[in-house]
Symmetry: C2
Subunit: 448 residues, 2 copies
């Protein structure tokens, strides 16, 4: 009897987590993973640090190479693109580097095709390669090392901001152009203003509420400038950080369902709707948002790893559930750390949820302890009950990871009145005697 | 009609929090606070940093001076000791610097007498002043500045450890002598071993399982050595950090009840049992431990501030509740940060609670991100249900404040299985893609 075969489309976080958990559970299963690029299991989140030079070798971003996966009994095929999925025939059409198409059978399938960068729909933008993969990042860094004195970053989300910081660190004059009236749309405008301060303090020129009209290229197709309605910005280098959408074209063509979020519809076992033995995980898949009680697509390594692992468990006869997300994220932008969880005022308004909200400013350490700096905490709660619905934090070192406390409180359904008296820790190197979170909770509770 | 009068015994965190919250609620009330020492509202937690020189001026440790309190309408009497409380007669006997005893009437009373250092019961120890107050710390630092090359710290709790670090930072050869077989009895032995490593790495000689037999003094009463059964340690300076007990003698003599923890018995409104209009708060008072479901005495600024505020609210006709404690604490010892919450294996065993426990070692940041270092996380959970009962963390920068996530989870009654999939934050400067807490939760869940 032939061995059962699990095929995986996509060899980054979600796909290789699925492969690894399946391998651990079933030593006899045949597991094959197809990856379009040359690398597996890399940290896309680490790319800005490699571009900026904080991380010297691109290989440091790779947590497990194809060879390492193969040594664990996973048949990884790199530089192999899956171009078609035949669900009824239980086979994939695969195009490898050589160019010839082959057919690959499967019993169970995990779709982990990730996300694809969205370029602004303007002339010249198509010439800019998104720095989304390790090999693309290597090409960008090589270009930076060849010279140039100016750069334009299009888009002021967290990736755009991290890239802008990295480019300043390389000695470039950096302008960041954002269509929206604020940086970092995942924060409310008041909190985002602090992040803008940090970027500007680092030397980034931030241009808000402005659309790019053209990426001006030279005869060789290299960028020379970025043009808006009012101004033209010199740009020896252009980086695009205007978001990305779930890469679902392949799965959609195979007949898998796509939800309103634009990502593949899955249940809490990562099973694709109506397709037996087919799972999806990571940036290409939907998640249940526990506060909004809605399907969302949040592209983050944390979810990709967890969902991939669960897909691998369930593809091998297990029964594990992904409990959903609450929108937790952190980043470090120049001198500030930034965290968010749950929903903010803007998301609440969009979802028609009435909330109360308070913001406090405090210090990260006891006032007399060296290195104390500002921290802003904003909480959003349900009127009446006081249930915490979300939080946002901006501040110096030590600020960001506090968001996990709020994430735990949101997850557990704690009210701000209860949070205000919770037994959180105190010592002078870490906070004032009332942690900023307690102060914020009390300020919010007063509004109820 | 004469104004109502609220009297407060003790002018540090709990007492002055009570005074301040009473003042905010009732602008007409007469409020008088008696403080034995010259300072009010100071940070005892900051004393080691002042002794070590990280904080230059002792005044930096004072968050609100007597003058500032007076400007807010609180009649603070410093250098005034309350020597008797007459509950029926509603008056205090007070001895001020001048020496004369006076009587002070009260309608409501807040007892916030704090804790008193416990000296080891050996000859010479009585000559060593505990560095528990700002003025005592000033005398210690003055002595250190006068010279000396060696110091012995008796007791290896967090205060002893912080003081040992401070003394090394001043250039002294430091030996720390501890009766117990481990440092930091608030941690389980396996976790405490890392703290010992940090202290020894900083240059502290740590002598465990050893009792001090004598503090050897010179003719002038200054220390010259500390003697144990086997050895004599040169000691130009001696610091005692062998814990402290609630200062309840005054209140006990007045007839207030003392609980099994040795602290004043209060209900969750901070009301002293059987004594109308009399409240206690801070180090001298009991708290309800939510995990142990027992009364405990945990001497920490966080509780003192919260309880003081609640006492002040309830002493002025309010009705606020202190929800109890779960034993959360953090400290920074040399290169490591340390956090704990809930109960550990030892406490569980002492209380007859069966638990499962797992410990993991991880890194504080993504492996490729500069500054990553070790972090150990130990979780203790209820068998069967998996309910998290406690956690301990030791690690480099960024480790300690993670304890607040565990504190929130313990407080909310989350199970480790749920914690393992919780939406905690990730970015390379702050953790690997699975936060160490998630890894620890999964390791613990596997044991259920």
């Amino acid at each position: 009897m032939p061995r059962e075969r699990l095929a995986i489309v996509g060899g980054d976080a979600a796909g290789m987590s699925a492969a690894s958990s399946a391998r651990r559970r079933d030593p006899d299963l045949e597991i094959v993973a197809f990856e379009r690029g040359p690398y597996t299991s890399y940290s896309a989140c680490g790319i800005p640090y490699y571009v900026g030079g904080l991380v010297e070798q691109a290989e440091r971003l790779i947590s497990r190479s194809p060879q390492e996966h193969r040594a664990r009994g996973i048949d990884v095929r790199t530089c192999c693109e899956v171009v078609a999925i035949d669900l009824d025939g239980r086979r994939l059409t695969v195009r490898c580097a050589a160019g010839e198409e082959t057919h690959e059978p499967f019993d169970q399938l995990v779709v982990a095709t990730g996300a694809e960068a969205l370029a602004p729909p303007v002339a010249g933008a198509e010439a800019i390669e998104p720095a989304q993969t390790v090999d693309a990042a290597q090409r960008l860094r090589a270009a930076l090392e060849r010279g140039g004195s100016s750069a334009v970053v299009i888009g002021a989300g967290y990736i755009g901001l991290e890239m802008a910081e990295a480019l300043v660190d390389r000695g470039l004059r950096v302008t960041m152009i954002e269509q929206a009236p604020q940086v970092m749309a995942t924060l409310d405008a008041d909190m985002a203003a602090h992040v803008q301060d940090a970027a500007e303090g680092h030397g980034v020129r931030v241009v808000l509420g402005t659309s790019v009209e053209q990426v001006v290229l030279d005869a060789a197709g290299a960028p020379v400038a970025v043009r808006t309605a009012c101004e033209s910005f010199e740009a020896d280098h252009v980086v695009i950080g205007t978001g990305s959408r779930p890469a679902v074209a392949l799965a959609r063509e195979a007949g898998l369902e796509v939800g309103d979020s634009g990502a593949l519809r899955v249940d809490d076992r990562q099973r694709c709707a109506g397709a037996d033995g087919v799972f999806a995980a990571g940036d290409c898949a939907e998640s249940h948002h526990r506060v909004l009680d809605a399907k969302v697509n949040i592209q983050l390594g944390t979810h990709a790893n967890k969902q991939g692992r669960i897909a691998g468990i369930n593809a091998t006869g297990g029964d594990d559930r992904f409990p959903g997300v609450i929108g937790t994220a952190v980043s470090k932008i120049c001198r500030y750390e930034i965290g968010r969880t749950g929903i903010g005022e803007r998301e609440a308004a969009q979802a028609g949820i009435v909330v109360v909200s308070a913001t406090i400013e405090d210090r990260t350490r006891a006032g007399y302890y060296p290195g104390a700096g500002p921290i802003w905490v904003k909480l959003v709660a349900e009127p009446g009950s006081g249930r915490l619905l979300g939080g946002q934090i901006v501040g110096v070192e030590g600020a960001a990871k506090r968001i996990d406390v709020l994430a735990t409180a949101v997850w557990a359904g704690l009210a701000v009145q209860e949070l205000a008296l919770l037994d959180l820790s105190y010592a002078p190197p870490f906070s004032g005697v009332y942690d900023p979170l307690l102060i914020a909770a009390r300020a919010t509770a007063k509004l109820l």
